[in-house]
């Protein structure tokens, strides 16, 4: 029992958990048998089984049964269910499309029904179900209230509201100006840009995977991994001092984690060239600046000639430049995380003079 729990604790550590969920998500999306009713039951049973097993553990119970964490567990199940449900319907439609039939929604969308009673009744039923759920939830679970606010006594860990915990998790790898300002802004800009970047006219108004593989994989990567998985990580697996704790580990405030992270400038000048760090910031940080300039400036051009040639030709210059930059920035998040996990890399560019660290 303890051996299993130790393995799961180890699997849940950020580097492994993020790798597993990335490989797992993308792999699963191309694994057709999962998106059938049987696959859904299997996925759901695994989730429920794992959860029931975990709930026997006292340390897991402490964290999972905090009243404010209940909706987050609910979100885990709801997002899981609807992800399966969307993919299930997408594969049903894909099978029809492969045979040259129209998607399932087509038959229905050609017919029109009177809003009264067909739509109004569906709305009424949803409204009643929603009300009942809300009332029962409110009766069963009291809204928590902690000690009165005390600006002098910070709790440990001090956590942001739960839906921002993915961003707080990014604070481990990025400075606040990136994790708290630039990346959230780019998430909003990126979401808004989607309809203008995506020129694929197919898959409009019905579930489908094979007609929009790229769009769906990228969107789910951002939504499921970089948003939902990081929220789960930040909520359930980050304890005192924002240290990592496995799901069955006690949140020990005295846990010590060695911090010996280095920046690109230190690796380049001290470790490789065996000299002192140059005094002038531009010279000192030149390797890192060149890396960033290459990634953001040269890579889009190189990709347009090679890997993304097809996209460049289809999308045109403006759409391509905006799209590929947003894509590269999204990809930079896991890249920076891996650089930290593998090389203990702190900053790629570390200009303390201007508080400008990437």
């Amino acid at each position: 029992m303890t051996a299993i729990k130790d393995i799961i604790n180890w699997l849940a550590s950020p580097a492994i958990a993020v790798t597993l969920s990335m490989v797992g998500l993308v792999g699963a999306m191309f694994c057709k048998p999962l998106w059938t009713k049987k696959g859904g039951i299997l996925l759901f049973a695994t989730l429920i089984g794992g959860f029931a097993f975990s709930f026997t553990d006292p340390n897991f119970r402490i964290v999972a049964s905090m009243p404010d964490n209940v909706p987050i567990l609910g979100m885990l199940f709801l997002v899981g269910f609807f992800f399966w449900y969307a993919m299930y319907q997408a594969h049903l439609n894909d099978a029809r499309l492969a045979k040259g039939l129209p998607p399932l929604e087509k038959e229905d969308s050609d017919k029109k029904v009177f809003t009264w009673p067909d739509l109004v009744y569906v709305e009424l039923i949803s409204l009643i179900v929603c009300s009942i759920v809300m009332i029962l939830w409110s009766i069963v679970l009291k809204a928590p209230l902690e000690e009165p606010a005390n600006p002098g006594a910070a709790p440990n860990p001090a956590k942001a509201p739960w839906y921002f915990l993915g961003l707080q998790e990014l604070l481990v790898y990025f400075d606040p100006w990136m994790a708290g300002v630039v990346l959230p802004t780019l998430i909003i800009v990126g979401l808004m840009a989607i309809p203008y970047i995506d020129t694929n006219p197919r898959g409009n108004g019905y579930f489908s995977f094979r007609e929009r593989k790229w769009e769906i994989v990228m969107f789910c990567f951002g939504f499921i991994i970089l948003w939902v998985v990081l929220i789960i990580l930040g909520t359930f697996l980050r304890g005192p001092n924002w240290n990592f704790f496995g799901p069955y580990e006690y949140w020990d405030p005295n846990k010590l984690v060695p911090l010996n992270n280095v920046s690109v400038s230190e690796i380049f000048w001290v470790k490789w060239l065996k000299t002192a760090l140059p005094a002038f910031w531009l010279k000192r940080e030149l390797p890192g600046i060149l890396l960033v300039l290459f990634y953001m400036g040269a890579l889009p051009g190189l990709l347009s000639k090679t890997l993304f040639k097809r996209f460049y030709e289809k999308m045109g210059t403006v759409r391509y430049v905006v799209g590929v930059n947003l894509f590269l920035i999204m990809l930079a998040v896991p890249i920076k995380m891996y650089l930290r996990w593998i090389f203990n890399l702190k900053y790629i560019v570390n200009i303390q003079e201007f508080s400008f660290n990437i």
Partner: protein, 264 residues
């Protein structure tokens, strides 16, 4: 069969009373003409078109996630109004009013409804976005409405964020402290942000802890009385008004862009 007959008779008797007729002008909509009038002649229902695509009525397609989000917004508006009767946004009273709400107010589940409803609305709005993406419903002609939706998603998070502070307990003050600390790292505009220290006039820094973006948000250097008042006004009046306006635009555009999406 007998049961159905007596049900029909009961229905008939009710709808023929003077009271019923005075409220519902069209009677039971049992003809197509009356069904049209039922939607057109009702201030709430006329947000709908008279006829809807059959696919747009199906739960399996829409998941009703957008509708749930809107309904939860209404629940939150209503419970929030009730809470406003009891709650005073000052550091002297706020926490005590929370205790009173818990201990003294009979049938007091409105704080629970408001808190759980807020969590639920954040989740339903994500699921709505996910559904709209997975059905490709942001594609032309609905690009702009997707954008309105993204803004509404951000407003939902901001509504929840501003509401987080109001209980004035340890969770509230420190969650908002952690969240609003990000603002002081804003490039140029936050005093710890990149290049902010370079904005100086005659050697005097212009962006300081007393003049930066975080100060503007909180009305002070720490999360204190001014922040509580600001968040209260943002939470109860400012953001809901903008959100309500954008919801009107959102629903209007759903209709103008051809109703709930479906295969072309």
């Amino acid at each position: 069969m007998n049961l159905e007959k007596s049900w029909r008779r009961l229905q008939q008797q009710v709808v023929e009373t003077q009271v019923w007729k005075s409220i519902f002008r069209v009677g039971i909509p049992n003809t197509n003409r009356k069904r049209v009038l039922a939607v057109l002649g009702n201030v709430v229902l006329h947000l709908h078109p008279v006829k809807t695509r059959k696919s747009g009525v199906k739960m399996r397609y829409t998941w009703c996630a957008g509708g749930m989000t809107f309904f939860l917004f209404l629940v939150l508006t209503f419970t929030g109004l009730l809470l406003m009767f009891y709650y005073r946004p000052t550091i002297e009273y706020a926490y005590g009013d929370m205790l009173d709400l818990r201990e003294q107010v009979p049938f007091g589940i409105m704080r629970e409804m408001h808190r759980w409803g807020a969590h639920a609305m954040v989740i339903t709005v994500w699921i709505h976005m996910f559904r709209v993406f997975m059905t490709g419903s942001y594609k032309p002609p609905r690009e702009f409405n997707w954008n309105v939706g993204v803004v509404l998603l951000v407003l939902t998070l901001l509504l929840s964020f501003t509401g987080y502070l109001l209980p004035w307990d340890q969770l509230a003050i420190w969650a908002i402290t952690v969240g609003s600390n990000m603002a002081r790292a804003t490039p140029l505009a936050g005093y710890e942000g990149p290049f902010a220290a370079q904005i100086a006039f005659n050697g005097v820094n212009l962006v300081t802890a007393g003049s930066d973006a975080r100060f503007g948000l909180l009305g002070g250097r720490i999360v204190g009385a001014n922040a509580l008042l600001r968040f209260y006004v943002l939470h109860c009046v400012f953001i809901p008004l903008i959100a309500a306006f954008l919801m009107a635009v959102h629903f209007w555009r759903v209709r103008k862009d051809g109703g709930i999406s479906g295969p072309l």
